[in-house]
Amino acid sequence: MRILADMFLLIGATFTLFGSIGLIRMPDVYNRIQAGTKAVTLGSISLLIGISLLYPQWWSKLLIIGLLILITNPLGSSTIARALLKSGVQPWKKVETNTPEENSNG
């Protein structure tokens, strides 16, 4: 049980890390929101599962936290994206070039 819980905690932490890397590497705000939302949602749910395996008596509160994250996290992201689009922030477009791309500068 302990090992399973640790696995979930590790998976959650890893996806949250990927989300953070995405926030830095993505070229524009919309893609950053995408990286942030998805990774953090699954990451936190995985963390919650891990915690509920460690402390089974907390399951009802953890379930509520999970539900609220599932509903509010994507909603908040779309609201931010909507506000950005309304205020005129254009989505990033890749410039097509003939030369092979050197895009690894982060």
Partner: protein
């Protein structure tokens, strides 16, 4: 989000009952005990909440309350969590690959769901699935930001794929 109140008032009692059950379940999860006194207190609170907020809450009116709705809900949750995991693996792959493979575009997607709750669920689902982010909802058109839009052949058909896999199940329990 542009939510327009539902005009039909036919199933007001059922909606109220649904709201009551949701509030009561929420209470029971928060208290975390099945003690009779807790449940009675919760029932009273849920009743007061239902009576005071029901006339102002139109969002619950889109739910189909039938036993037939259970199967679509389970299907939907299964599809949803599977897509969420896929989305994260996809996003991790994009983020970690040195060339940053992105072809972003903003596309319009139409939906058949009419109720505010249905469109909210669909919008949230789209946001959490591979490479798509709902930007705006206007009546029955969703504005979706797509990380990896296929180069513009048959974009209509490609966008349809985003919605149908959720819509199919959502239609079972939401209007």
């Amino acid at each position: 989000m542009a939510t327009k109140p539902e005009t039909e008032e036919g199933s007001g009692l059922a909606d109220g009952l649904f709201l009551f059950v949701v509030v009561l379940l929420f209470w029971m999860l928060l208290t975390g005990s099945l003690d009779p006194s807790e449940i009675i207190t919760g029932a009273v609170v849920a009743l007061v909440v239902t009576l005071t907020s029901r006339p102002h809450l139109s969002i619950y009116s889109g739910v189909r309350i039938t036993p037939m709705a259970i199967l679509p809900i389970i299907n939907y949750l299964g599809v949803f969590f599977w897509e969420l995991i896929l989305a994260n693996i996809d996003m991790a792959r994009r983020v970690l690959s040195p060339s940053l493979p992105l072809r972003p575009a903003v596309v319009e997607v139409r939906t058949d769901l009419r109720s505010p709750l249905g469109r909210l669920a669909l919008a949230n689902s789209i946001t959490l699935t591979p490479g798509t982010l709902t930007v705006d909802v206007q009546d029955q058109t969703l504005l979706v930001h797509w990380v990896d839009a296929p180069p513009d052949i048959d974009i209509e058909n490609a966008t349809r794929k985003i919605t149908t896999k959720f819509e199919r199940h959502l239609k079972g329990f939401l209007k």
